[in-house]
């Protein structure tokens, strides 16, 4: 198969799946083995479109095209802050959030942890990882070990630095505060899902004059992190960290595909605003229902 076909076929197949799913919306009789009721067809269409875009951007990346990603100050600050920790001879504290490993924010946090571990291993800086759940701790330990191995320094990895603190919210906050005040880390990184303990951690970190980088998609906690931390990765930025740090073509391609879908969503929002305005002004008995049309009502 020549190179052109290698890219055209997967893209064609995935676009076909997206198109079929979209055209079938609301028209497939639900059975015991398959249903496309409600917004399910749209989900398939989005995932398939994302996969098609992924293949397209992967093709472009392999061809040597440059994939532009805007600068994310918070991610750039991670390397700077690890360097600062090295200079000060103080550890880096990484908190993986207070959710179980089944939560996508925790998964994203653990992916970033791998990069941070590699970086601290290269800089020969101590990394302490605080976990809310034991299962997260087990995975985090493996990831940190792998990060140190990738950096060529497996001997520098200290398993006791990946800690299970507590599965109780404020006991966890008290435990992490204790680490912050005793060990005085020069860098505190909070990435994952956080709740009321976010400000308790970030304010304690502020008292120790640490550089603080936070990242969460939890809307209610973002203002606290923005107020108390030096850098905050807002929502989707947290999911982009891994790609941004590694600059791996596959991850960048995925990021670009997400951006295109986002542009599509923005276009839909604008269309929705136009439709809603028309319905309001015209007062039609049969309003233009964009949402219903999309999910096949």
């Amino acid at each position: 198969m020549n190179a052109r076909l290698k890219i055209i076929v997967p893209i064609g197949v995935t676009i076909g799946v997206a198109a079929i799913a979209f055209l079938w919306r609301g028209n497939v009789e639900p059975s015991r083995w398959f249903t496309l009721e409600g917004p399910r067809a749209m989900y398939v269409a989005i995932v398939a479109a994302m996969a098609a875009l992924l293949y397209y951007y992967l093709f472009r990346a392999r061809r040597g095209d440059e994939i532009y990603i805007r600068r994310i100050a918070g991610v750039d600050a991670i390397e700077e802050s690890v360097g600062r920790s090295t200079e000060m001879g103080r550890p880096v504290l990484y908190v993986t959030g207070v959710e179980d490993i089944t939560n996508i924010q925790t998964i994203a946090s653990l992916l970033v942890l791998g990069q941070v571990a590699e970086m601290t291993a290269e800089y020969d800086t101590e990394l302490k990882v605080a976990n809310f759940y034991p299962i997260t701790m087990v995975v985090a330990e493996e990831i940190v070990k792998q990060g140190y191995t990738n950096a060529g320094r497996p001997d520098a990895h200290k398993p006791q630095n990946v800690m299970f603190i507590s599965s109780e919210q404020f006991a966890f906050a008290a435990g992490v505060n204790g680490i912050i005040l005793r060990d005085q880390p020069a860098t505190n990184i909070y990435i994952g899902r956080f709740f009321a303990e976010s400000l308790i951690l970030a304010e304690t970190g502020y008292l120790t004059k640490a550089i603080q980088i936070a990242g969460t998609a939890e809307i209610t906690q973002l203002p606290f992190f923005i107020a108390a931390c030096d850098y905050t990765l807002i929502g989707e930025e947290m999911y982009a960290v891994s790609a941004y740090m590694t600059r791996e073509s596959r991850l960048l391609a995925m990021l670009k595909s997400t951006d295109v879908i986002k542009a599509f969503v923005i276009a839909l929002l604008l269309a929705g605003a136009v439709f809603a305005t028309y319905n309001h002004l015209a007062g039609s008995h049969e309003p233009w229902d964009l949402g219903g049309w999309l999910v096949g009502k």
Binding site: R32, W33, F34, R40, V44, I46, V47, M50, L54, D100, T102, I104, Q105, I107, A108, L110, L111, G114, Y133, P134, I135, M137, V138, E142, I143, Q146, T149, P159, Q160, V162, M163, F164, E168, F170, A171, A174, G178, A196, L199, I200, A202, E203, A217, I219, F224, A227, A228, G235, E236, M238, Y239, A240, S242, T246, L251, M254, L255, T258, K262, V265
Partner: protein, 350 residues
């Protein structure tokens, strides 16, 4: 191979979980539930590793007398104490002794009300009749006053014809609770029937709570209880565990939460300093929202609540939704990255 196998398993399970949305078949759901159960078992097993980690991290610090080692002693002693209280000691070696409730009756005399008498081994037991406020099983004249200590008089109440639900429990959680249903009939049961019922109740005291016990008017029914103390965490919580939770853990937890108020004040002070245009805008918006929410703002002008509502409903909601949509797309992309094996940084090398 070391990373390929987890990659394949991750890919398969990821797509299988995605398919759960589209395949309503019960067999598919059974497999899905099975996988979820396995994940829960795995997570529960990880708590053992978590406990070992806590000891591995803290015990060497105590031995080396590192900074604040005393707190780590408190941590380990607390963990052991809570763990010990969390075990169901009363259930070790067989079925837990849940106490007993014996019902006996005198020969039927007369008609009208039946008499319910209590002979509880627990002096502080409370009795709830048909969901009414609790009364003391042992009192000193006024059984309704449960604020006074128990007395020497056993509770005796009149039950009118009909079904009654009697609950006997301790004033605090962590003990066995007994419930019995008594049916006061209009007609008198035969003595033979009553004897069978009595024997059955004695043999199966727990089952007596389920089926109503027939009692004729004029009979005296004596309820004897032994409300044993439970141990452990779970349902129901044991007494020692509940006490430790309510009197040690909960106040500590509330104290930590209360700190948040002061942290909010200090963080808000820093955030609202007008250092640049954005900070000034933030400060202005915060002042308008605060004025719009407090009564004095409403008193000053009705425009302030309207401005507050507009800022919260229009500007704030717009920003929130934009972040949520971006985050949702990022979450989908991260999921796909892991499922498709594009993201491999969490896996070891081959």
């Amino acid at each position: 191979m070391k990373s390929t196998i987890p990659l394949v398993i991750g890919c398969f399970v990821g797509w299988f979980a995605f398919g759960e949305l589209y395949v309503p078949h019960e067999d598919y759901r059974w497999v899905f539930e099975f996988l979820r159960d396995q994940a829960q078992i795995l997570a529960a097993m990880a708590f053992i590793l978590g406990g070992i980690n806590v000891i591995q991290v803290n015990y060497p610090k105590i031995r080396r007398r590192e900074a604040d080692w005393q707190y780590k002693v408190v941590l380990l002693v607390g963990a052991v104490a809570m763990g010990t209280a969390g075990l169901r000691w009363h259930a070790l070696g067989g079925e837990a002794d849940s106490g007993s409730m014996a019902v006996s009756g005198t020969a039927a005399v007369g008609t009208g009300y039946a008499t319910l008498a209590f002979d509880s081994a627990d002096r502080d037991a409370l009795v709830i009749i048909d969901g009414a406020p609790p009364v003391r099983a042992w009192h000193s004249g006024n059984p309704s006053d449960i604020t006074k200590p128990p007395g020497d008089q056993a509770l005796s109440v009149q039950l009118r014809p009909g079904e009654h639900v009697i609950t006997v429990r301790k004033p605090v959680e962590g003990y066995a609770k007994h419930e019995v249903s008594i049916l006061v009939a209009d007609n008198e049961p035969t003595s033979a029937k009553y004897e069978i019922l009595k024997r059955w109740v004695e043999l199966l005291p727990a089952a007596a709570a389920v089926l109503p016990i027939n009692v004729a008017p004029g009979q005296v029914v004596t309820v004897s209880t032994d409300l044993v103390m439970y141990w452990g965490a779970g349902s129901p919580h044991g007494r020692v565990f509940t006490w430790m939770y309510d009197h040690i853990f909960f106040p500590c937890n509330a104290t930590m939460f209360a700190l948040l108020a002061f942290f909010i004040a200090s963080a808000a002070f820093r955030a609202f300093r007008a250092r640049n245009t954005e900070s000034a805008l933030l400060l202005g918006a915060a002042i308008l929202v605060m004025i719009g929410l407090v009564p004095i703002g409403r008193a000053m002008s009705p425009i302030f609540p309207e401005i507050e509502e507009w800022i919260m409903d229009t500007l704030n909601t717009t920003g929130r939704r934009a972040i949520m949509m971006g985050a949702a797309l990022g979450a989908i992309a991260t999921g796909l990255r892991v499922i498709l094996g594009i993201e491999r940084s969490h896996l070891g090398s081959d």
